[in-house]
Subunit: 157 residues, 2 copies
């Protein structure tokens, strides 16, 4: 399995899409600006996501991207697999010699572990993440309500 920054870009973009795609399609320009990812790189990522039907593109002015299906039906594993090419590691699928079982033992143990991690992130959907963002207040600077901002800054100064 592979889980790298590329997968993170894809998850981030899909998350942006899920968050902002309620009232219409979201353009890659928007995501690019929102998330600080180059437009052309996003286009490449979305080519892969589209191939796996995770997003649906609409051309022309007012166009952009929709989620390919409900956010509940898109797992993190789906997204990462789409862009990262989930590789099978063991090359000894009945072909290679097994070195007295040693080599294959570790291979199958890794396979099992790999499968476990996969099944773990397959259980987490895009909707789960969005829900979690709505419940607790995430954010960099913990934005204070505008009303209290004046008083705080007034006291500080």
């Amino acid at each position: 399995m592979r889980l790298s920054t590329k997968g993170r870009y894809a998850v981030t973009a899909m998350l942006d899409l899920a968050l902002n795609g309620q009232d219409g399609p979201v353009t890659l320009s928007d995501i690019s600006e929102n998330q600080g990812i180059s437009l052309s790189y996003l286009e490449q990522l979305f080519a892969a996501l589209r191939a796996k039907k995770l997003v649906r593109g609409v051309r022309g002015p007012g166009g952009g991207y929709f989620l390919g299906r409900d956010a509940d039906e898109i797992s993190i594993a789906n997204i990462i697999c789409a862009v990262d090419e989930w590789v099978e590691f063991t090359r000894c699928q009945g072909k290679e010699d097994c070195r007295g079982g040693q080599r294959c033992l570790t291979h199958s143990l890794w396979d099992d572990l790999s499968r476990q991690i996969y099944e773990f992130i397959e259980e987490i959907s895009l909707a789960d993440l969005v829900r979690r963002g709505q419940e607790s207040n995430h954010g960099c600077h913990k934005e204070k309500p505008a009303s209290t901002l004046g008083e705080i800054s007034g006291q500080a100064a």
Copy 2:
């Protein structure tokens, strides 16, 4: 976070060490031959593993490597972190602008997810993997039951 083939090599090598290191140190030559990993690459990986005290080297003839501590006390996360440099992704730790919170929202959501995956593989120890390998009969050519690691962290398979 990153989880690539490099981490897999490290886990595989550590697994080999755990399996064969009962009666004395295991040489990198052995692991190299067993697992099909180049000796010099193993040396680089083990330099990182040694820096994190996950292995202990013994020089000279009859030397080799021991696990740095009990296999129960070494998690998969430990191993992967040692060689893969668990990177923090969000670059907006109070510094960068938050684009109205959008950018940071997705960043913190990714952080949460990343942390979950980390905590998941932190729960799995080298000893867990070895135990699983002893219980069920792993091997190349034998058809495996669906998942032999099912109960490892209470996750339903």
